[in-house]
Symmetry: D2
């Protein structure tokens, strides 16, 4: 999913600080939830938020997602594609169109 | 960040179901938190979790992150790179090395 | 669940600031997730955290839970008791003892 | 905060299943985030949700909050009252009235 320059930059950033020791999959999963909530906080009281603030929080969520994928040897683009296939099955166009209901309520 | 095939596949998936109407930035931010918690649930009681389960949940978080980036006209790779630069400033190697403390406690 | 002094104090706090206008059930649900993540952040990198810091974050989660219950006309103690009954059925002692598995995996 | 019958019922429920072994503060904090997100999911696509569904999810959040308070020897009602005092200072009526801004932006 990422070109090597980004993956390399993240890898270098972590190695320089020797932070790999803190990046267990469990700690990274917690970090993704923590950052996702900071993103959600942009919309805590309504639907409007400054894009630059949202961009910064979204970047934090993505960063930890990439670190977790890396840690587990997963290719981000590949797993998104694979999951999309699963979701496609669960939400057939004819039944899911114009509906936000969960697959088991369609 | 994503090659066009993935962005195109996501775009097509949403358009076929006409789900853009549900994908306000606020709803996507909520969705990212919801999926991040399903990822966290893999590690609710301990540090071990089956990689394929984690991969599926991580894919859901990434998918909504990509949809939000797309919705706001943000380039995922670009915002991650930009935020990395900010974080680099906040966590200088000499002070942050081997420490998980927050920048304001370093 | 709460003696009237606490419920009254919360009610007065919100009314004095005229914050009821922001406290839709949806916004309160978002707020509970935001505060839950600040609580989680205490344990982001490990199992130890200063109790006074945890107490403050836990208090924030509880406060929004009480405001949401109040908003929906629910009695916190009552719904906890009712849910406990449901959970008791889903996790029979003989099968759930010493296991953290989800009911559908017991 | 809770009358003894509720605290006793929760204590008995956990002891019968010998689940105290899983209830480290960290695991309970993760559980609160997981349940908070299931509550948020009720409002994932909009502001309306069936009250009985919300009640069940809110009960789960409260239950784990009570277990964490118990585990740390904290009195739920007391910490909520103490935090309310702190928040009162940070959000003086004259500046906070009718505003959802964070204290540092008031």
């Amino acid at each position: 999913m990422f070109d090597d320059s980004l993956r390399g930059a993240l890898k270098k950033f972590v190695e320089e600080r020797n932070w790999g020791q803190f990046h267990s999959p469990e700690n990274l999963a917690k970090s993704i939830s923590v950052e996702a909530a900071e993103l959600l906080e942009c919309y805590q009281w309504g639907g409007e938020a400054p894009t630059d603030r949202v961009a910064g929080e979204l970047a934090d969520v993505l960063t930890y997602c990439l670190l977790l994928a890396d840690r587990l040897g997963l290719d981000p683009e590949e797993i998104v594609m694979e999951k999309l296939e699963v979701t496609r099955q669960k939400y057939p166009v004819e039944r899911a169109r114009d509906r936000s209901a969960k697959y088991d309520e369609l």
